[in-house]
Structures are given as structure tokens and as C-alpha cells.
């Protein structure tokens, strides 16, 4: 009886989570009873096959195929020897063809001398949780999807790529009067559900205060005061950059609240940083904010982005940085070519050599046509 209870295989087969084991060549050598229950695949369907073959068909939340790529969580953990610290949501194909959302963790298996000889992946069906998150995503998208101003003198574009299903970035653009437009790009510290809820609250604060953006430093002070009140005793903050642009003259005032320095891309493809330091929103009450004034010339562009677009490390532990982001944009022949988020994401992933990008990415682009 005792022997039965402590048998590893009995324990594995009794778990509610699915478990499978691959050898170093990624050949499936064990497939648990719960893995059968969740996916419908029987051991005889999968044991002996390479996990990257056309069976499990793991994809990430954005539909990118993970099997056979360097981005496969199990493969990565065998290469790096590191156990997954944060579970990853992937979509697997069940035997009946349906896509099953699964939360996955992976760990390397070592022999007695410490050499990695295989890997174990555990997964659980997270369909109910995902339905809830999908609804939350829809609600968040409704908050962010505002009609961008249409003005023949300017073109606004926005790009939003949350790390999780919902994200902690917030952005907005609004016409303030006949010629002037206000904008804000903010990044709640952290990501996931808590950051998304705070981002929703920031949306309400934006609606109450955006008219103040004729004076960005005053707007920043107002938003900061509100967020200090909202965060209360919780230690968190939002980094941000906000500003106002005059479509008639190209004159722009920008205020930073700990957000990344925006970039101006001149018509000749030269990049210039707008240095605008300032305390993040919500850290302390009654802190002063400053404005930087710059002028766009016809065919210049302004890029605001969250730190997820450049705080990316590669396999050699080197940081991409803003200069690296500018190099990637140049390699994509931006601004001659319009900004394409899919292409940019591919290049960022190529640099990172990771399963997926580690943070939300939001970009606001303003192209100034001039008179």
C-alpha cells in the first residue's frame, strides 16, 4: 500500500496537471494519464515522437508556433538548464483538433553528474480563467480604442502589444482646440491583471484632466496627485510621457514622468532624443514637473514608446537600449517605410532570443506633414 502511494508513476498519473517528459533530442518518453485527459492524446499516439512534430502544435497567445523554434519553453529550459520561473500560457492542439489554452512550466532533468538529459513539462487547462481574461481584454480594448484625430497636417498612429492578455500600458490622444493635440503614454509598474486595473483607472483620470494638456507640466501635476490618492498605501507608480503638439507650427511641449525619452526622427532619418526627466506618477505628492519645447519640421516624426520596446536583453545579456531600438527602426527603413508592429516585434524577438517579449509594448507615432 505504502509502496503504491510513493510510486513516482502513481503520483504523476494522479496529478490533475498534465505531465510529459522528453529526452535531450526532444523525443517524448513519458505521457501521464492527466495529459491524456486534458488533450485526448493517448501515450501510443505520442510516446516515441519528437515533441516538435506535428502533434502538440504549441502556439503562443498571438498564434506564433513554438514547437521546433528556439522559443519552445521545454527546449529553452534544456538549453539553458533553468526551470521556468513564470508560467507561460500556450495553446496546444487536442486530438479532436480544438485549441486548448494551457499554463505551462518546464524544468530540466539532470543525471547524477548534473548534465541535462531531458526535460519535464507540466501543464493545466486554463480555459475558464482565459474566458475571464478575454472579457477583461475586450473591456480594456474598448478603453484604449479611441478614434485618432484626423487632421491633414498630422498623422497619429498607435501600436499596443500587451505581454499578457491584458496589459498595464495606457495611451490616449485627443484634440484640445483647433490646432493643438494632447497625448499621453503611460506604463504602470509591473504587468498583468493588477497593472491592467490601474491602467483602467488612469483612463478615468485622463478623461477628467486631458484639457489641462495645453500645459503638460500642469497636466502631469494633476495626474500625479490623482494617482497618489488612488495608489494610497500601495507602493507602485506609472512612468509616463505626455505632451501637446501644434498642428499649425509643429511646436511641441513634452513633459516626462520617468518614461523613456521620446525620439524625433527627422526627415533625413536622423534620430534625436528628447531628454525629459521627471518623477513617475504616484510616487510623491506635490513634486514639480518640467516641459521641454521642441519643433517638428515638415516630414519629421515623433515616437513615444514604453520601456518594453527597448529594455530587452539578448543571449549575451546585452541590453538593446533606445539606441538599439533606433538601429532596428533604421534597418526596417523607417520612416521611409511606415512602422509595422509585426516586423518590429520579429526584430525585437530576434534580438532577445527569448520565447516572447517580457513586457507590454506601446508606441505612439506622430508624423508631421506641415502646412
Amino acid at each position: 500500500m505504502q509502496e503504491q502511494l510513493t510510486s513516482s508513476e502513481v503520483i504523476l498519473d494522479s496529478l490533475s496537471d498534465g505531465v510529459y517528459v522528453c529526452d535531450r533530442e526532444r523525443r517524448i518518453v513519458y505521457w501521464s494519464t492527466s495529459a491524456q485527459r486534458i488533450t485526448g492524446w493517448q501515450p501510443e499516439d505520442v510516446v516515441g515522437l519528437l515533441c516538435l512534430e506535428d502533434v502538440l502544435c504549441h502556439e503562443d497567445k498571438d498564434g506564433h508556433r513554438l514547437c521546433g523554434e528556439e522559443h519552445c519553453p521545454l527546449h529553452r529550459c534544456m538549453v539553458t538548464g533553468v526551470t521556468t520561473t513564470v508560467p507561460v500560457i500556450v495553446f496546444a492542439r487536442g486530438k479532436d483538433g480544438r485549441k486548448i489554452p494551457m499554463q505551462v512550466t518546464a524544468a530540466p532533468i539532470r543525471n547524477e553528474s548534473g548534465e541535462v538529459v531531458g526535460g519535464v513539462e507540466t501543464f493545466r487547462d486554463v480555459a475558464p480563467m482565459l474566458q475571464d481574461l478575454e472579457r477583461a481584454k475586450m473591456i480594456q480594448a474598448q478603453t484604449l480604442e479611441q478614434d485618432l484625430p484626423a487632421d491633414p497636417r498630422l498623422r497619429f498612429s498607435t501600436f499596443y502589444l500587451p505581454h499578457d492578455i491584458v496589459g498595464g500600458d495606457y495611451y490616449a490622444v485627443k484634440q484640445l482646440d483647433g490646432d493643438r493635440y494632447g497625448f499621453l503614454l503611460a506604463d504602470m509598474e509591473g504587468h498583468g491583471l493588477a497593472a491592467a486595473l490601474y491602467a483602467m483607472q488612469l483612463g478615468s483620470v485622463w478623461n477628467q484632466h486631458f484639457q489641462l494638456l495645453t500645459n503638460p507640466a500642469g497636466f502631469a501635476a494633476g495626474v500625479n496627485k490623482e494617482l497618489v490618492r488612488i495608489f494610497g498605501r500601495v507602493v507602485t507608480f506609472a512612468t509616463a510621457v505626455c505632451g501637446v503638439i501644434d498642428a499649425r507650427t509643429g511646436k511641441m511641449s513634452v513633459t516626462g514622468a520617468g518614461g523613456p525619452s521620446p525620439l524625433i526622427i527627422r526627415a533625413n532619418q536622423a534620430f534625436e532624443k528628447i531628454e525629459c526627466p521627471g518623477p513617475p506618477f504616484g510616487v510623491m505628492e506635490d513634486v514639480p514637473y518640467e516641459e521641454q519645447t521642441v519643433k517638428l519640421k515638415p516630414d519629421d516624426s515623433l515616437l513615444l514608446f514604453s520601456d518594453g520596446a527597448f529594455e530587452i536583453h539578448n543571449a549575451r545579456d546585452e541590453l538593446l537600449g533606445v539606441d538599439g531600438l533606433a538601429r532596428i527602426l533604421t534597418s526596417l527603413d523607417y520612416p521611409r517605410n511606415q512602422l509595422n508592429m509585426d516586423d518590429l516585434q520579429k526584430e525585437l524577438l530576434k534580438f532577445s532570443n527569448d520565447i516572447r517579449l517580457q513586457d507590454d509594448i506601446t508606441i505612439i507615432e506622430v508624423h508631421f506633414w506641415g502646412q
Binding site: V235, T239, G258, P277, P279, L319
Partner: protein, 110 residues
């Protein structure tokens, strides 16, 4: 995350090693808050071996500093690498957290 801890009289010198990011900030937070909970109110964060700090890492530093201020203590940072220095400048965290060039200079702040 590896964190080297040293004592100089009533001052605790913490040296986090590597990256303070989404994967490591929780273990650093636990360590820092434990040091504070044990009654230390003077802390030097020696950043000589800190290669990167994310906003989550900044939050942990802020949380530790706020707790220390409540105890009327002091947190001083020192030996910041160029990128970390930039982060503290952009966020103006350097306006309320004293930053010294070296551990020796940081010790003079107490």
C-alpha cells in the same frame, strides 16, 4: 538573486548581483524587507554588481526607502553603473535618494 550583505557598525551594505528584474525583484524585496524588519534603519545599496534595474526593481527600492524613512532611517545608493544611473536620473529617483560614487563616500552620508 545573489545578494552580498555586510555590516559596518549599524549600517547594512547590500550588494545585489546581476539583474534586478521581473524574475529577481521578489527575492530582492524579501531580503531587503527582512533586513528592515530586523531593525536596520541605515542601508547602503551598493550597485557595483547591478547590471540592470527594471521598473519592478525600482519599486522595490522605493518600498524599502519608504519603510526606512518611516523609521527615520536613511538609504543611500552607491557605485551605480552608467545604465542604472540613467534610470535614476530619468525617473528623478536621485532627487530623493542620495547617490554616492563609492561605498566609502556612502558611509560618510550617515
Amino acid at each position: 538573486m545573489k545578494i552580498v550583505e555586510k555590516r559596518e557598525n549599524d549600517i547594512c551594505i547590500l550588494t545585489p548581483v546581476g539583474r534586478l528584474d521581473v524574475n529577481t525583484s521578489e527575492s530582492f524585496r524579501e531580503h531587503l524587507l527582512q533586513v528592515i524588519a530586523d531593525g536596520t534603519k541605515n542601508i547602503i545599496l551598493d550597485c557595483q554588481s547591478l547590471d540592470y534595474i527594471s521598473s519592478g526593481g525600482l519599486r522595490v527600492v522605493l518600498e524599502g526607502a519608504k519603510k526606512i524613512w518611516q523609521m527615520e532611517g536613511k538609504m543611500v545608493l552607491c557605485s551605480l553603473q552608467e545604465y542604472i544611473k540613467e534610470v535614476f536620473e530619468v525617473t528623478q529617483f536621485d532627487s530623493f535618494l542620495p547617490i554616492a560614487e563609492t561605498v566609502e563616500e556612502a558611509l560618510k552620508e550617515f
